[in-house]
Symmetry: C2
Subunit: 396 residues, 2 copies
């Protein structure tokens, strides 16, 4: 039997990132290509204790079917947590638990886009999200980034030119892949444009808590008085990605359709995993834990940035993230970035070619993404030395 694939899935090329997870499994490769949290940031002892507690306290509850929108205790706790900590959410909003933030994006694309409709994205942007939107037959409209976030006049231009844009997908904090943070001023102006053009914002904030430099910037959702912002938060980067628990804070009018989409997708997010996140938010020193994570990432980032300054050709430019997990290297004009990445992996260092993050992967790109959160220090030093040597051979 020969299977014929749907148009929507044929639009998605198997992502470079998927292949890279497999490559990164080869222990000989120094993988700056992953997006993994540092393993030393996992609160292993606490998770061990919580799993034992859950399996003592209510094992049947942890194993049985449950509600589509998530465990009511976790939803309530997230609501309080978001409001107390970030002034996010109002009486007009509600929380739905998702199986990773990716599933939240999946459901929003399914809910808000007909095939052929468009999603506006920062360019470059997170390839996982782009592929999810593509997988619903959505067109991607890219708006370039500046050092303080999305390019405002080009954003407005895009909104005018594409009346079929159904939402803007934005990662305001420590953006994946660039590491750029959108300024408060830009956030307010983007929100104004959202209201002016009646195009909602999906604010994806997986890294927001992982700030190790500079001052916090309020979430767009915290500025939202009109229900234009849908906020996606996740436990993947602050607790553990393997648990696959995240959430959306959304205007209540969307909850019925989201419940339906959730029921059609995986019925509900695994209960044991939800209860672990509940314990994480109620039975743990969250501030001390986040402080520890930020200390780890600050040290790793500064190590990588320092080694880059020491080893790289000065013709290569690099962003300076204030948090999160990624930085973005740009090769000099005219350099063949893809060839550079191929030689790099032959020498044992994997990075993600920047065109993976473009609306059109076939477009040329001078940049690549590097992750500093997951590797041990000696691997960071060794990998940057190899890459640095290569930049000097190619560009000096």
């Amino acid at each position: 039997m020969d299977y014929v694939l749907s148009d929507r899935i044929s639009n998605v090329k198997p992502s470079v990132v998927g292949d890279i997870f497999k490559m990164a499994a080869d222990p000989r490769i120094i993988a700056f290509s992953a997006g993994n949290p540092a393993k030393e940031a996992f609160p292993v002892e606490a998770v061990r204790r919580w799993t034992a507690e859950i399996m003592e306290e209510d094992p049947v509850g942890a194993l049985q079917y449950s509600l589509n929108d998530g465990d009511p205790r976790l939803r309530q706790r997230i609501k309080e947590f978001l409001f107390e900590r970030y002034h996010i959410g109002s009486d007009d909003d509600d929380i739905i638990i998702t199986t990773g933030a990716e599933q939240g994006l999946d459901m929003l694309a399914k809910l808000l886009c007909n095939e052929g409709d468009a999603v506006l994205c920062e360019e470059p942007s997170f390839v996982g999200a782009l592929n999810t939107f593509r997988s619903y037959g959505a067109q991607l409209v890219g708006v370039p980034m500046e050092a303080d976030g999305i390019h405002l006049s080009k954003l407005e231009e895009a909104l005018q030119q594409h009346p079929n844009i159904k939402f803007m997908y934005l990662i305001p904090n420590f953006q994946n892949p660039t590491g750029i943070t959108m300024s408060e001023e830009k956030r307010r102006k983007v929100l104004e444009l959202s209201v002016k053009y009646s195009v909602p914002i999906v604010e994806d904030n997986p890294y927001g808590d992982l700030r190790f430099a500079g001052e916090p910037v309020p979430a767009m959702k915290s500025m939202d008085t009109t229900g234009n912002v849908i906020y996606a938060g996740s436990f993947s980067k602050v607790l553990a990605p393997g648990l696959r628990v995240a959430y959306l804070c959304v205007p209540k009018q969307l909850m019925s359709a989201l419940n339906t989409a959730k029921q059609c997708s995986d019925v509900h997010t695994a209960i044991l995993n939800q209860l672990l996140c509940y314990k994480f938010l109620t039975d743990f020193d969250f501030d001390a834990h986040i402080e520890n994570c930020c200390r780890i990432y600050k040290q790793k980032y500064e190590l990588m940035a320092g080694e880059i300054a020491r080893c790289f050709s000065t013709k290569v430019t690099v962003t300076e993230p204030q948090g999160g997990m990624f930085l973005w290297c740009t090769l000099p004009d005219g350099a063949d970035m893809m060839a550079f990445c191929k030689v790099a992996v032959q020498r044992g260092v994997a990075v993600v070619p920047g065109n993976a993050f473009l609306m059109d992967e076939a477009k040329s790109c001078q940049s690549f993404r590097m992750n500093y959160s997951s590797l041990p220090d000696e691997k960071i030093i060794e990998g940057i030395e190899i890459l640095g040597q290569l930049t000097k051979e190619w560009f000096d």
Copy 2:
């Protein structure tokens, strides 16, 4: 901001089953409407031990990101398990882990159907699957059931009349909602039709292990030599639904697209949950456990069937499942089934109105679904007495 929903999600009415989970949470209602395993069938002690072991042996592995298609050890073990036990799978097949079987159906609809394409289903069929197909804009073509499974000549007629059918969705064992098992002869003939019309079969088999009467019938996948059958298995009914772990056994040619769909959906199924299923298949007396589950369900089924025989009007007919969790009651011609179900719930007993399982919910239906697996014996007796009294008031 007023949100406008996509056509595809507007096609899905919020399912009766979702509302019923909420109703069933009211402890005053006797809910024959759920599809929950009996809580006494959960191997709580073993799960407790396995979680502790996993959190000792490799906590970081359980918490970190992993591969899209699932933990390689679990995939390998499922492959062996399916082949050794049921002769399912060949060298041309592979395994992908899904977040519940529902997600497998979601990905298959996404992969195989363009909007407007059709999926052929037994009528009635599992409402969760029907809604998932609807949520991709698929048309549903229903083929009626007989006592030994789908109506063969009507099946062939439907395949001839609808050239845009992209797959047949079938639940051959203890079908949800009817409890009917497809005979071996019909399975072979359906497979022949699948080959003749080049329309693949999605064989959903969540209940197959839960046979408490009659003789096992081979899976269609075990008869498949042409790659026409995609097999969906699940840990939900034999281990625990709250874990949300299931799998597809599919022709290898679909694996790349399934990996892409998985990456776009929830990246991968939670690792701790996958590892629990691995322990279940490697570190446990599976046969003894299944025997225990079947003993529980046999006793509950026989209790319910006996009480129905004792209490119901003889004008109500009932299927006689040989396994699984459901039976299907049909009221006499002319009875208002929906009104009957409404009065039943007012008297404290919830069942699922049969039209929820039709291709067109607006069509009239004389039947309703009852679950015997989840309630304690005294509730089964009490609930059937109430329903029986009602059938006698209405029909005798």
